[in-house]
C-alpha cells in the first residue's frame, strides 16, 4: 500500500521533472529539473530493495548533473543565462516525435504481459549484481578499471596548461 503510493508519487515526479526540462527558460533550472527526474528514478529502485543500484543512481546523477550544468552553460550562446532560452528546437516536430515515442513505449509496457517470475531475490543483491556483471572476470575488470583511471588522469595532466602561477614548474609551457 505505502510502496504503491510511493511508486506512483515518484513516477509522477519523474515525469514532471522530465517535462519541466523543456518548459523552464533557464539552463540551470533545466539541468536540475532533469536531476529531480533522475532522483525520483533512483528512489524507485529503493522500493524494490535494490539499495545499491538506487543509491548509486542518486550518487552518480548528482555528480553528473553538476558537471553537466557547467558544460551546458559554458556552451550556451548566452552563458550569462540572463536571456531566456529554450531546450526545444523545431517545437512542433519535437512534440510529435515525443508523443509517438511515449505512446508506443507506454503501449508496449501495458500491452505485453510481464514474464512469469523466475527464482527468488538474492539475500544480498549488491553481491549478486557484482557477480553477474563481473563473474570470474573480476581480476581483469579491476586491472582495466585502474588502467582507465590512470589514462584519464594522465591525459588531463598532459593536456592542462599550468596557468599563470606555474612558471618554473616542469609542465608549464
Amino acid at each position: 500500500m505505502i510502496a504503491g503510493i510511493a511508486f506512483w508519487a515518484l513516477a509522477a515526479l519523474a515525469v514532471a521533472g522530465g517535462v519541466a526540462v523543456f518548459v523552464v527558460d533557464s539552463m540551470a533550472r533545466a539541468t536540475f529539473a532533469l536531476l529531480v527526474s533522475f532522483l525520483a528514478v533512483g528512489l524507485t529502485f529503493l522500493l524494490i530493495d535494490l539499495q545499491y543500484l538506487g543509491v548509486l543512481v542518486i550518487l552518480m546523477m548528482i555528480m553528473e548533473m553538476c558537471v553537466m550544468a557547467v558544460f551546458m552553460i559554458m556552451f550556451m550562446m548566452n552563458p550569462g543565462g540572463l536571456m531566456p532560452m529554450t531546450m526545444v528546437h523545431n517545437p512542433r516536430g519535437a512534440a510529435l516525435i515525443a508523443a509517438v515515442v511515449f505512446v508506443s513505449l507506454a503501449a508496449g509496457a501495458l500491452a505485453v504481459p510481464p514474464p512469469p517470475r523466475r527464482g527468488a531475490p538474492p539475500a544480498d543483491p549488491a553481491r549478486a549484481l557484482g557477480l553477474s556483471i563481473m563473474g570470474d572476470k573480476m581480476l581483469v575488470m579491476m586491472i582495466i578499471g585502474v588502467a582507465i583511471l590512470a589514462t584519464m588522469i594522465a591525459s588531463v595532466v598532459l593536456a592542462v596548461h599550468g596557468g599563470r602561477y606555474a612558471a618554473g614548474r616542469s609542465r608549464s609551457r
Binding site: R29, F32, Y52, V55, I62, M63, V67, A69, A126, V157
Partner: protein
C-alpha cells in the same frame, strides 16, 4: 519484548536530532572560540540573523537559492542518518550505508552550486564554481578511502564496519585512508584550508548575498555537515563505540567531538590551498597512495579469509 523494541526505536528517532543538533552547535561554538567571539557567539549570531531583513539581488533565481540552501542542511542530515550511531545502530541502518553517506555528501555539490548561481551575483557564482572544482579534486581519493573501509570490513553496512574493528581500529590498519578521509572531511565541509568557496578573497563566495534566515539555515547546514563529516570518522576508522569504562554511545560522542575539535583547530591553523595545486596533489599523489592502501587492505582481507 516488542514494547521494549518499540521504545528503543522511538528513543533512536528522538535522539537523532538532539545528537546532530548538539554536534552542529558544538562545531559552531568551537569555531566561535577559535575566532575569539566567545561561547555565546553562535547564539548571538543566530538571533541577529533571525531578525535581519532579507536582502535581494536583481533578477535572482529565488527558487534555486532556496533549493540550494535547504539542500545543504538536508544533505547533512540525511548523511548523518546513516553514520551517526546512537547506541548499537544508526537511524537508517541501510545495507549500503557507506554508499548512502557518500551520495548525500555529494549532494552538497549541487547545493553550493545552486546557491552560488541563483543569487545572480559575481562572487557567489565564483564560489559555486570553485566548489565543483574542489569536488572533482577531493572526491576520487575520498571514494577510495570509503572503498578501502568497505573492503576491510567486507561490508557496506555501517554497524558491520564497526564490528570489523573489534581487533584493530581501521585508523591503525589503514592509516593512509584515515589521513585522506580527514583531509576530504575538510574539503566536503569546505572548511579551513579548503574553504575557498566561501573565501574572503571572493567576499564570502557562495554566501556573499545570503542574509537573514537564509544565511542562518546555510550556516546551520555547514556546521551540521562538518559535524557529520567528523562523526563519520568514528564508525569508519575509530572503532565506533569501543572503549573501556563508558557505554558505547558515550565513547562515540567523545570520539566524534575529538575529531570535530581537531578539524576546527586544523582549519584555523592552516593556510588556504589553491585549488589547481590541490587537484594536482590530489590526483598525482593521493589517488596512487589510496590505490596502494586499497591493494594492501584487499591483500590482508583475502589472506585473513
Amino acid at each position: 519484548m516488542p514494547l521494549r523494541k518499540g521504545a528503543a526505536a522511538l528513543g533512536v528517532i528522538l535522539a537523532f536530532p538532539v545528537v546532530l543538533g548538539g554536534l552542529a552547535l558544538a562545531a559552531a561554538v568551537l569555531d566561535s572560540r577559535t575566532r575569539g567571539t566567545g561561547w555565546a557567539g553562535p547564539l548571538r549570531e543566530a538571533a541577529r540573523l533571525l531578525g535581519q531583513r532579507r536582502r535581494r539581488t536583481v533578477a535572482a533565481d529565488g527558487l534555486l537559492v532556496t533549493a540550494g540552501v535547504c539542500a545543504l542542511l538536508t544533505a547533512a542530515t540525511l548523511a548523518g542518518t546513516a553514520v551517526l550511531p546512537l547506541g548499537e545502530r544508526p537511524l537508517a541502518d541501510l545495507a549500503v550505508g557507506v554508499v548512502w553517506f557518500n551520495a548525500m555528501e555529494v549532494a552538497v555539490w549541487a547545493a553550493l552550486w545552486l546557491t552560488g548561481w541563483g543569487a545572480n551575483s559575481f562572487y557567489p557564482l565564483v564560489g559555486g564554481y570553485r566548489f565543483l572544482a574542489q569536488g572533482l579534486a577531493y572526491e576520487l581519493p575520498h571514494m577510495f578511502a570509503l572503498i578501502t573501509v568497505a573492503v576491510g570490513a567486507g561490508s557496506l553496512r555501517v554497524p558491520e564496519v564497526v564490528a570489523a574493528q573489534r581487533g584493530l581500529w581501521f585508523a591503525v590498519a589503514m592509516p593512509v585512508a584515515f589521513a585522506v578521509y580527514l583531509l576530504s572531511a575538510l574539503a566536503m565541509a569546505f572548511w579551513g584550508p579548503l574553504g575557498g568557496p566561501l573565501g574572503v578573497d571572493v567576499a564570502g563566495g557562495v554566501r556573499a548575498e545570503l542574509s537573514g534566515p537564509d544565511l542562518l539555515i546555510f550556516q546551520a547546514g555547514r556546521y551540521a555537515l562538518l559535524a557529520v563529516a567528523a562523526a563519520a570518522a568514528v564508525p569508519f576508522f575509530l572503532g565506533g563505540g569501543a572503549g573501556p569504562g563508558l557505554p558505547a554511545w558515550a565513547w562515540t560522542l567523545v570520539k566524534a567531538l575529538a575529531v570535530l575539535a581537531l578539524l576546527v583547530w586544523a582549519g584555523r591553523r592552516t593556510a588556504g590551498l589553491r585549488m589547481d595545486r590541490f587537484t594536482e596533489a590530489s590526483w598525482l599523489v593521493l589517488i596512487p597512495a589510496m590505490l596502494l592502501q586499497l591493494l594492501v587492505t584487499a591483500t590482508v582481507a583475502v589472506a585473513a579469509r
